[in-house]
């Protein structure tokens, strides 16, 4: 599952641009993920300039 650390995120939208599924959306000053569309590829968490996205295992 993709976890968004709101207190770290700088709401820049870089992750939105690389998400192959269009699962991320920057709503004004907060980021949202659509769990229905996210395929947990981890690309967004890899490229985040601040490290605000984390892939956590379901368990």
């Amino acid at each position: 599952m993709l976890v968004i650390k709101r207190e770290v995120c700088g709401y820049c939208g870089a992750c939105v641009s690389v998400c192959p599924e269009g699962a991320l959306e920057l709503v004004d000053a907060y980021l949202t993920v659509d769990p229905e569309n996210c395929i947990e590829c981890g690309i967004c968490s890899k490229i985040c300039p601040l490290g605000a996205l984390e892939m956590k295992n379901a368990e």
């Binding site: 700088g10 709401y11 820049c12 939208g13 870089a14 992750c15 939105v16 641009s17 690389v18 998400c19 192959p20 269009g22 959306e25 920057l26 709503v27 004004d28 000053a29 690309i43 890899k46 490229i47 985040c48 300039p49 601040l50 490290g51």
Partner: protein, 397 residues
């Protein structure tokens, strides 16, 4: 907000603002919607532009933080190369104050007659019979549908609107430059110079920049390839290390984060009823990451073409293709194509090779700064360049 405009513009950055102004000046109704509460803030930019910006807008001194007279390139081994205006063909540039600049551009659009709504976000596209006809907009807790003959997507790096219209705007992971920047004060800089630091240790597949914001103040930032970014080696980690070394006593008064695409532009930047401009069309420069002027130029062109097509009653993809064809054959379009290929060569260079290039350029007689001379001399000192030189030469000619 009306429920129908001739042109609806998604995004109030430099691309959207120039589009709105062009449409309004052509006498048509238009509206810019911007999801953020304030135009231009937070800034996601190092704010550097070349002086060709004055071909697009009359520069107001209020928008300018500093005037730039040259650039300083620092090689991985610390050798420096100063590029001054005489060499670059008297080119100078500016570091803008985008909080003011972006707002004033939107202001100009509004004064020309364009409607503007902030804190209003497009949340989906309205598509009928395969044609883009408008957008669903969330504004102040209400959801409204706004129709238009042409929608201009100027929604920046996120570029979701075109995606909702079925166009894949995904930036490949290796081609996003992931960036962090501090606005710093109380640091020793040359206020007339912009500096660039290269090298795998400093900024893998990217660079550190110091863009002067005036006396003792600068945007100090970094962009690295998304491919090189990982836990513990994120742009912020590299930047903090750079600052600890170069500006340990500087004060950070703003944190800026962002992504810049260094990929090829979208394969096609129009569809039935839709034009895509600026960063949303992936038009930032693959080498420098600069995209302000490209967004302004394509925004203006999009507004003009939309107005023409509306006047002639045909807003099909075929009619709007005029926009795509025109920017691709423009100086900007050709430059993007060339710089993409140059980037592909330079990104693979090892630090020693970069050092060696900078070293040999330093030996050149800068009075005769023409491409052929440059290449001949570079090859003399760096014979290994021959492998790539065919391509390079073709690109530079």
């Amino acid at each position: 907000m009306q429920n129908k405009y001739d042109v609806l513009i998604i995004g109030g950055g430099p691309g959207g603002a120039m589009a709105g102004k062009a449409v309004a000046e052509a006498g048509l109704s238009c509206c810019i919607i911007e999801k953020r509460p304030a135009i231009g803030a937070p800034v996601r930019c190092a704010e550097g532009v070349g002086n060709e910006i004055s071909e697009l807008v009359d520069l107001d001194p209020k928008w300018i933080s500093s005037k730039i007279e040259g650039a300083l390139l620092v090689a991985p081994d610390g050798q420096t190369l100063e590029l001054n205006p005489e060499m670059a063909g008297n080119e100078v540039g500016y570091v803008l104050d985008r909080k003011i600049f972006d707002r004033e551009l939107v202001w100009k659009a509004a004064n020309a007659g364009c409607d503007v709504f902030v804190k209003s976000r497009a949340s989906s596209a309205i598509i009928k019979d395969g044609k883009v006809c408008g957008a669903t907009i969330e504004s102040g807790g209400k959801t409204v549908e706004v129709y238009a003959d042409v929608v201009i997507a100027a929604d920046g790096v996120e570029s979701k609107f075109a995606r909702w219209c079925g166009i894949d705007t995904t930036v490949p992971m290796a081609e996003i430059e992931t960036c962090v920047q501090y606005l710093m004060t109380d640091i020793d800089i040359d206020p007339g110079l912009n500096a660039f630091y290269l090298g795998r240790e400093v900024a893998p597949e990217g660079y550190v920049w110091i863009f002067s914001k005036g006396e003792r103040t600068a945007n100090v930032g970094i962009g690295i390839s998304g491919k090189m970014c990982k836990e513990g080696k994120r742009p912020k980690d590299y930047l903090d290390a750079f600052i600890a070394e170069h500006f340990p006593n500087g004060k950070i008064i703003e944190l800026i984060v962002g992504g810049v695409s260094a990929c090829k532009p979208l394969a096609c930047t129009v569809a039935d009823g839709l034009i895509i401009v600026g960063d949303a069309a992936r038009l930032s420069d693959p080498i420098t990451g600069g995209g302000i002027i490209n967004a302004m130029y394509t925004g203006k062109l999009a507004g003009e073409v939309a107005a023409e097509c509306i006047a002639s009653g045909d807003c099909s993809k075929k009619a709007l293709m005029k926009y795509d064809t025109e920017w691709r054959s423009s100086k900007m379009g050709k430059g993007l194509k060339r710089n993409y290929q140059v980037k592909e060569i330079f990104i693979k260079l090892k630090d020693e090779k970069l050092n060696s290039i900078v070293n040999s350029v330093n030996k050149l007689d800068m009075e005769i700064f023409d491409t052929k001379y440059l290449i001949r001399e570079l090859v003399k000192y760096n014979p290994w360049l021959l492998k790539d030189i065919g391509t390079l030469k073709r690109l530079l000619d």
